[in-house]
Symmetry: D3
Subunit: 296 residues, 6 copies
Amino acid sequence: MHFLSSEFPQSSPEDALFHIIPMPMEQTVSYGAGTALGPQAILDASYQLEAYDGTSYPGELGIYTSEAIDCSGDDESCFSNLEVACRSAYQTGKIPVTLGGEHSLSIAPVRALHATRQDFGVIQIDAHADLRDTYEGNPNSHACVMRRIHELGIPIFQIGIRNLCKEEINYRKQHHIGFLDAEAIYQNGIPITILPEDFPRNLYLTFDIDAFDASLMPATGTPEPGGLFWWQALDICRNIAQNRHIVGLDIVELAPKQELHSCSYTAAKLTYALMGISSAPPESAPLQLIEKRFVK
Amino acid sequence: MHFLSSEFPQSSPEDALFHIIPMPMEQTVSYGAGTALGPQAILDASYQLEAYDGTSYPGELGIYTSEAIDCSGDDESCFSNLEVACRSAYQTGKIPVTLGGEHSLSIAPVRALHATRQDFGVIQIDAHADLRDTYEGNPNSHACVMRRIHELGIPIFQIGIRNLCKEEINYRKQHHIGFLDAEAIYQNGIPITILPEDFPRNLYLTFDIDAFDASLMPATGTPEPGGLFWWQALDICRNIAQNRHIVGLDIVELAPKQELHSCSYTAAKLTYALMGISSAPPESAPLQLIEKRFVK
Amino acid sequence: MHFLSSEFPQSSPEDALFHIIPMPMEQTVSYGAGTALGPQAILDASYQLEAYDGTSYPGELGIYTSEAIDCSGDDESCFSNLEVACRSAYQTGKIPVTLGGEHSLSIAPVRALHATRQDFGVIQIDAHADLRDTYEGNPNSHACVMRRIHELGIPIFQIGIRNLCKEEINYRKQHHIGFLDAEAIYQNGIPITILPEDFPRNLYLTFDIDAFDASLMPATGTPEPGGLFWWQALDICRNIAQNRHIVGLDIVELAPKQELHSCSYTAAKLTYALMGISSAPPESAPLQLIEKRFVK
Amino acid sequence: MHFLSSEFPQSSPEDALFHIIPMPMEQTVSYGAGTALGPQAILDASYQLEAYDGTSYPGELGIYTSEAIDCSGDDESCFSNLEVACRSAYQTGKIPVTLGGEHSLSIAPVRALHATRQDFGVIQIDAHADLRDTYEGNPNSHACVMRRIHELGIPIFQIGIRNLCKEEINYRKQHHIGFLDAEAIYQNGIPITILPEDFPRNLYLTFDIDAFDASLMPATGTPEPGGLFWWQALDICRNIAQNRHIVGLDIVELAPKQELHSCSYTAAKLTYALMGISSAPPESAPLQLIEKRFVK
Amino acid sequence: MHFLSSEFPQSSPEDALFHIIPMPMEQTVSYGAGTALGPQAILDASYQLEAYDGTSYPGELGIYTSEAIDCSGDDESCFSNLEVACRSAYQTGKIPVTLGGEHSLSIAPVRALHATRQDFGVIQIDAHADLRDTYEGNPNSHACVMRRIHELGIPIFQIGIRNLCKEEINYRKQHHIGFLDAEAIYQNGIPITILPEDFPRNLYLTFDIDAFDASLMPATGTPEPGGLFWWQALDICRNIAQNRHIVGLDIVELAPKQELHSCSYTAAKLTYALMGISSAPPESAPLQLIEKRFVK
Amino acid sequence: MHFLSSEFPQSSPEDALFHIIPMPMEQTVSYGAGTALGPQAILDASYQLEAYDGTSYPGELGIYTSEAIDCSGDDESCFSNLEVACRSAYQTGKIPVTLGGEHSLSIAPVRALHATRQDFGVIQIDAHADLRDTYEGNPNSHACVMRRIHELGIPIFQIGIRNLCKEEINYRKQHHIGFLDAEAIYQNGIPITILPEDFPRNLYLTFDIDAFDASLMPATGTPEPGGLFWWQALDICRNIAQNRHIVGLDIVELAPKQELHSCSYTAAKLTYALMGISSAPPESAPLQLIEKRFVK
Ligand SMILES: [Mn+2]
Ligand SMILES: [Mn+2]
Ligand SMILES: [Mn+2]
Ligand SMILES: [Mn+2]
Ligand SMILES: [Mn+2]
Ligand SMILES: [Mn+2]
Ligand SMILES: [Mn+2]
Ligand SMILES: [Mn+2]
Ligand SMILES: [Mn+2]
Ligand SMILES: [Mn+2]
Ligand SMILES: [Mn+2]
Ligand SMILES: [Mn+2]
């Protein structure tokens, strides 16, 4: 089933602004963790969405859902398969929207974008910093993905973090990595402008759905309490998209559960909302609302 | 089991202010969706409630739980069975409290109230506008129920909506339907007075439990993130009940799940709280709190 | 939804051989046990059945599904409501098919049949003997229902039992109650003729679904391993129906579970198969097969 | 993850006897049924298998797991994508092993095999006959797939059926379709030779996992009691493979569930066992055991 | 597995500031309620925690996890076993951290602390007042535990309550018990100083996890909507710990569920965070943040 | 809660023939596998058992349930804690009944028995041979436990196996280990005498509950289809106990699941049945039944 098939026919890759790319990658060999089932669950749930996302009709710009990336090989071959798909999207001015799968996969669309020699930064919305050098001996682990990205020389900014280790705290400090952690959002609300003025104009957005509060998103590997609620997440994404362009994005770490179809649906709705934000003209954000919010 | 049987004996219909009416209607013939199991799950969970709802003791005014409405026939015969039960409640000055079942059922208590020639309006608390003309070819669908009600010439007001389609947006505009959508509540809080001054004094309240945030109420057909939390919902209901009378109400769309007894319990607790708000003297609302709230 | 609504329209009570009577009785006040949800789950699942039950088309004889019996009062008032419904069925030559609900409910259809002054016996298919005098202080408990029936002077026969207490063993011996226990079925197979020659020609059949093996029917209050599998259950029911008439029946103790729709479906399929056996001409049983079976 | 990656590296397509082809096709647009998640769940569970299947080491003949077939288009485009993959397998003498997904998909590997102009028959192991002309208006429904195959002029044989409708009974009779239904297996055991002497020497095997008893395989769309247990299923497959060649196969209709990882594992183990049977030299079956079995 | 075994080795009792004491007590004999499984589930989930709790590294002060308390006897013998373990902790200046199990168990660590003749008060964070004299005939019920504690002459303070009965309201008034109920927190936020100036300097903290909102913590016996979210809970605990010492604590009433590992993890994370707050120097709280919060 | 507390009071260790020893050991550090929750789930479920096990009243010989063994240390310290408890039971002529927990724990009761210098053999009922030298680098893994036992020079016999690897097949052959594998039981039934004449008269019985068919026991780490059903398991255990004494036993690998309370109950019922078989006078077995069975 292609994304939002209840509302829009499958576009050709050429006619679609959005290339939905299912990436059922799950490194951990333990039995039954479940992120490999995430992309399909998002596609299934997208059937229940409306064409209208509350602000605009992003589907009218065309959606093409590719077949699932081959994840049967080793890490590097998985990444490389995804990289090919993303490169082809970037080269034709499309927005690749990768559905995970484990967070480790983000290295691939980022590498593909890096190869275009565009200037860009990566926004990570996540409960975890993912800045370790290795994790359980694996440098390709989901817990290391932002480290790998940062090592490519790409600026990163972290939002929603509420679980990190000493190594990650040190790396952050040493490398002056920008962040807006979850407790600060609780204590002070969302600032008028999240990103520093000199952060690149082009953004790649990686949204680890464990950024959501554990109450809203229990269907993930390591749910963390104290996270984002729905409107906060949208506010944050609109905020970073002010005067900037989101040129690629991924939604990762959904591990669907039987009684929690609400989680699969929420991931699908988030995907569509991010597509809307990515394609909105920069001036469309309701500025006066943002001001009010801050006063609160 | 009758409602709140742990605290109050079953009253006779004559001695009870509240007539609880189980309505296990589920149109969609797909296997296992589950709203038909909603009424029984609310009755079961009500056993865990206290007589005190946090403000008053509504059960002291008498609760009569009727047997379940016969939902074995076609839509119209289901509606008509419920209409009979509600009419009998209205005629003796009782408050019918229908437990759903699909949202489509609300047409029946509304028709019964309409037949009394009283002036009244309908408050809908829901994630969805339910204003379509038909849905999957069915004009009696839960997605059309507010359209059907509005077509009877009854004023309606919508609260908590966060998913609607173009047809519904247009219908709203064309017919000047009042609303307080979910994002506005997030951005601006609850206004001092929700309802317009000229909205009727008598209210029928239909509460689709998907109005709650998907984190609090995953046990429903189409849970939506970005919805109401508990105290917000109570605040809203107390707010609309200021200087007005709730003369009938329904709680619909619970689809109970095994591991989520919290949802069945929350629906039962909501039912009892709405009974308390419906029977409270108008002056009982803690006004100074409401003011404080708005300042926030 | 009425029983098997995908294949047959709702008949009028007069035109239907079968009166399906939902009886959502659940005495135990503990939170969430779930037999009260059984009848609705069977009705929902019946939508998936075929008109053909593998042998005949019982639905062609007419099915009328009544609304659910009012179970909001005390035990005796529940029983009495069901008794009225069954009496009306018997008086017009119909077969009442009660869907439970707790096993305790069987006293009602038996009392109604007893009131007709017909000679009949009761066949109980169950994992438990249900022959206690009282259970947790309650003589109306599901664990006492066969004792209550036997005390009315009605002959009973028990099949599939594999859990009983000393009191029940003694009662069985003292009153020469016939039985075919589960271990005997495992060790020796099903005998050519289960019932003693002098057992009454008219039968009331009560099928507690925990008679099935715990692997096939985990969705019940006290699942027991070592029970019946599907074809064994059908064989047994056809066997007792040889040269006898099943004039009323119930299927009790389903406590539906989210991931186990197989159990609700199996209960629905059993209900329909028992309707087929009840309405088959006595000679229809495939005799030669039964012989073969025994040789095995 | 590729099939059985804990024991064998991914082979190249050229070096692998088995081509595992994930086919996450799910036509029914209803929300959350789940067969689309089947292929991934089988691949995940295969990690727990041993290289030894109890009889042989089929993995030593090479396993290649392709990426998932693109199922985002309409029925015909899904089929056609799978057909291409199977044709390429057949042309190089490989055995395509398609993992479903809905049963409707079987038309594709059968068409691809038909195109080779080989003489072959199709063995269907299933609870349902799948012989309808259309189902809910759709001739490509899973309930019609064997009809579509038979209409191509290919001989079919059905095993394990226990739910069919009048139309299907008639079609069977009219077209002299061979079968060994579930009740016959219960009553008489497995015959020494299941297939008629003149059935083709080459077989395509389609195994709908609802052929298993509902106790063993509740994780499917329409589980049916009275089905096959594990060793019976293997016995049957070894029996049909006597003196014949299985040249292609599929395992369909797994709808994985959270608490029932046993079902995903059983489907994976079945897949591997069928690979073993398909690649065993015809004489390898333990003949004397089969004889003993029949005596029983 | 000992608490947080992924980060710290098991300390000896002498070297550990924290004595984790699993207490799988579950009085209610009903089948399958599940709090007896709580302690083990917290220990299992603690494996996923980091050494850093967001503020400090409490594990560096040493953690000793004792074996589970013997709960096979009657209530009093269970309490007495736990009392012994706690007394031994207090006597050596350690902080006992009891993992429940039912709330009734709190009487034991409180009694043990009382026996030290220290002056202290008890902070209860809970959805329920637990102030009944008896419940279902049992004075040791979880619904009576705070009454039993208060009757020992120990000052108590209640936070987060949103469900109580008339008897409890009266007891509160009569005995001038301090409280900060859940609705007040919603309406007014958290006050700068929660505890009255004259409340004892030493605190025993009992945290019934149903104090959390039902959305965040459905895995408990009686989840209640309208409760605390994560950061609110931490704010409250830091607030009460200002200028005071937490000398013992318990986390009770987790009833783990299969699909809700988020709840077990949240309980483990709370346990560790409370250990951090208990061992922080009083001046460590971020005062300026607290002020900001109140302005909000 | 102690074992079977609904029927028997806790005995003192001295007065009890059976010492129930909960052993919540779970080596694998992966999150949420669940065997650590097994012992408590068995104790909880035992509340539903009857005093009569279908043959005798084993509880009348006294049951003492000890507190859970401390499993917070490394493997060896866990084993050693259990060994102490078992030694104390053996020394006073009691039967230790250990509830697991992972299968690896069986080494401890066996070592304790070995230390008594009694002559005995070990019967393993399991789906897996557990004869590897190491597994994932760990010689104490559950997959190695029978190898470790056999290396002590203790005779072993394996029943129900249906999943093993080449290394295990070779070890079996080399060391002439006796077995009765699952497929042989399916094909030929249970032999009149399972154990070789020269197998020791004293037996230690270790029952891995994955020996049961996956349909009956999905709540375990690696459920395998093709296993034992209830009466087969009892038959086998009675068979081996003919003319021999079971002097100690364990039931391991239950990983309880929310919707599958049937599995916890089945494990509890098995425990009690094995206690009955262990304490029955050797002549009590129904010999004529066993003969009949074989004829079948
Ligand atoms: Mn991440
Ligand atoms: Mn994360
Ligand atoms: Mn609605
Ligand atoms: Mn809605
Ligand atoms: Mn029973
Ligand atoms: Mn019964
Ligand atoms: Mn099929
Ligand atoms: Mn089928
Ligand atoms: Mn409490
Ligand atoms: Mn509480
Ligand atoms: Mn084992
Ligand atoms: Mn095993």
